[in-house]
């Protein structure tokens, strides 16, 4: 695994240029994303953050190859993205493990699709499972695993084929707070070793700061890139850093950006009076999270 990562370290540059996506409805054209330009350098960890429905997942799905841009271009290492491929591994919020395959068979799946012979892929799947402490569960079906375990399997399944880019769509969104912290640490440790380019979508500000080298902040619909913030925290990262003044300053900055957009996103449902005293109640989450 380390051998592959060394070879791929200079690969995995994602460039999204003037991306726009709209779709037809009875009421007319709905613009989901407008003029979004982002990039991920080889080996970089980049997050996209924004209120619910801002089109951050749309952007990610376009990089994965599930959606075709209405305008603009999506390319990985200069090649335009036409369809999903094993070059761009994806991790989903709903885990999306194959229930009829054991944990190991799930991890092996990408390698099987590559035509790797059984004994070889079994060995590499077991190595990956061992690294994440899941070897004891290799012959179990996903249904018997906890959420955190499932998502660990989801991540190593996506990494098993040695993708150029790892795409994660709110991967820890359905985990409880404690498990989420542990998973963030596991992910940052794994990334530290593999140095695969990562594009990470989340609405959790702390998560974005803790994990990323850079964070893109998106506006409410139609989604556009509102800001790009570099995260100069040192690596390797540890949970204890989340208390540092540097971290908290970054968080304050991002929060004020996000709050404006979250308020726009929830529209006319909440009036000014209802929002008084919001600073106290938010506990570091965006309004969209609280509501």
């Amino acid at each position: 695994m380390t051998a592959t990562s060394a070879a791929t370290v200079q690969q995995g540059k994602v460039t999204v240029t003037d991306f726009g996506l709209s779709y037809d409805t009875l009421e007319g054209l709905v613009e989901a994303v407008r003029d979004a330009s982002i990039h991920v350098d080889p080996g970089e960890f980049v997050s996209i953050i924004g209120p619910s429905g801002c089109g951050k997942s749309t952007l990610l799905n376009a990089v994965a190859g599930f959606l075709k841009p209405t305008r603009g271009e999506v390319a990985v290492d200069g090649d335009p993205v036409a369809r999903p491929s094993a070059d761009r591994g994806m991790v989903f919020q709903q885990y999306s493990l194959f229930p009829w395959k054991t944990v190991r068979e799930n991890v092996e799946f990408g390698l099987k699709m590559k035509g790797m012979e059984r004994s070889k892929r079994e060995t590499s799947a077991r190595t990956l499972l061992g690294l994440t402490g899941l070897l004891a569960f290799e012959n179990q079906y996903p249904d018997s695993l906890s959420g955190g375990m499932k998502q660990r399997v989801g991540i190593i399944r996506a990494l098993a084929t040695g993708p150029k880019v790892l795409l994660l769509d709110e991967p820890f969104g359905s985990l409880d707070a404690q498990t989420r912290l542990i998973m963030q640490q596991i992910l940052t440790n794994m990334w530290q070793r593999l140095k695969t380019s990562v594009l990470f979508v989340t609405h959790d500000i702390d998560e974005a700061i803790f994990l990323s080298d850079r964070v893109y902040c998106m506006t409410a619909r139609p989604g556009t890139i509102k800001a790009e913030i570099a995260i100069p925290l040192e690596r390797p990262r540890h949970q204890s850093m989340m208390m540092s003044s540097e971290f908290l300053a970054l968080r304050r900055g991002l929060m004020s950006l996000i709050r404006e957009e979250s308020l726009k996103a929830i529209g006319g449902e909440v009036n000014d009076i209802a929002l008084q005293g919001l600073d106290i109640d938010l506990h570091g989450r965006s309004l969209a999270d609280v509501i």
């Binding site: 994806m90 989903f92 009829w100």
Partner: protein
């Protein structure tokens, strides 16, 4: 009740451990495993739900037999007439009599063979057809209207047409059995394909799977639980159709046996035929469920 039972289990589990020091396992010394009264009690407590179900089920069947016995013994007539209805004892005598003669067994064997052939053909056509219809919209658009028109026609209504269509009686009965099981299998397979979680398809695509692999590795196993539901339902309808066909156009088979018993005024044999059909239907459904469990080890229950 539950809490008390759990406490009991715990105390039972703890008591032997606290009284005897943990035995050092040695290779030479054979470890005796006598079933202590404690273990028997624990087993009973752990399986109390299943035991309860079993006990109530047995009692319920016994009650059914008893009511049947009483209703026929006293020839109850309350609008419904039990005058000519055979008693359980008569049916049992009848069973003893026919089990010695090959004719009855060959009736049973013939019915089973018809079910097997008809059902097997139905499954081999309906399952692949359902999978393909679920995957390819055009195929579905072409086949679905025809299947929807034919589906509501009960198998028994096919009897005259079937006799015209097929050169032999045997073939026409198998055909009716086939028709009966065909549509439940097809529709459930189709439903299974519609229920496939699209995120699993996307996950497979991201791992480099192409059309054929996705069909084999995702669509098929994802639809399998519904396919088995279809097979179970289809098996039930196959028996319904078979018996109807045998009663009308058969010369052999358990359905024919039951109808013949009525014509020959052998009332005990009517009930015997009915019970036999029930047992065979139950057995064949259980067989399919058993196969399902083997084929789908990931599915619960």
């Amino acid at each position: 009740m539950n809490g008390a039972a759990r406490k009991l289990t715990e105390s039972v589990a703890r008591s032997p451990a606290t009284e005897t020091p943990p035995a050092v396992p040695s290779a030479t010394e054979p470890i005796p495993a006598p079933l202590t009264i404690h273990q028997v009690w624990r087993w009973l407590v752990l399986h109390r739900r299943q035991l309860r179900t079993l006990a109530i089920g047995t009692a319920s069947l016994a009650l059914f037999l008893l009511s049947w016995h009483l209703l026929t013994k006293y020839r109850v007539t309350v609008h419904v007439r039990f005058v000519n209805v055979p008693s359980p004892e008569m049916v049992f005598d009848s069973l003893m009599r026919v089990s010695r003669d090959n004719k009855f067994l060959s009736h049973v064997f013939l019915s089973c063979r018809r079910i097997f052939i008809g059902f097997a053909i139905a499954a081999t056509i309906a399952v692949p057809l359902g999978l393909v219809m679920g995957r390819f919209r055009l195929v579905r658009e072409i086949v679905f209207p025809v299947s929807e028109v034919l589906r509501p026609i009960p198998a028994i209504a096919w009897v005259p047409m079937s006799i015209m269509l097929w050169p032999s009686n045997e073939e026409s009965i198998v055909f009716i059995t086939l028709l009966g099981s065909f549509f439940p299998i097809l529709l459930n397979t189709l439903h299974g394909m519609a229920m496939v979680d699209p995120v699993l398809i996307r996950a497979a695509q991201c791992l480099g799977a192409r059309e054929a692999s996705i069909f084999r590795e995702v669509y098929f196993p994802a639809a399998l639980p519904h396919v088995f539901t279809g097979l179970t339902v289809g098996m039930g309808v196959a028996w319904v159709s078979l018996i109807a066909a045998e009663m009308i156009s058969g010369q052999f088979g358990i359905g024919y046996f039951t109808w013949e018993a009525y014509s020959l005024v052998q009332y005990a044999d009517i009930a015997l035929g009915m019970i036999c059909i029930g047992v065979l239907g139950l057995g064949s459904s259980a067989l399919i469920r058993g196969v399902g469990r083997v084929v789908m080890p990931w599915a619960k229950t």
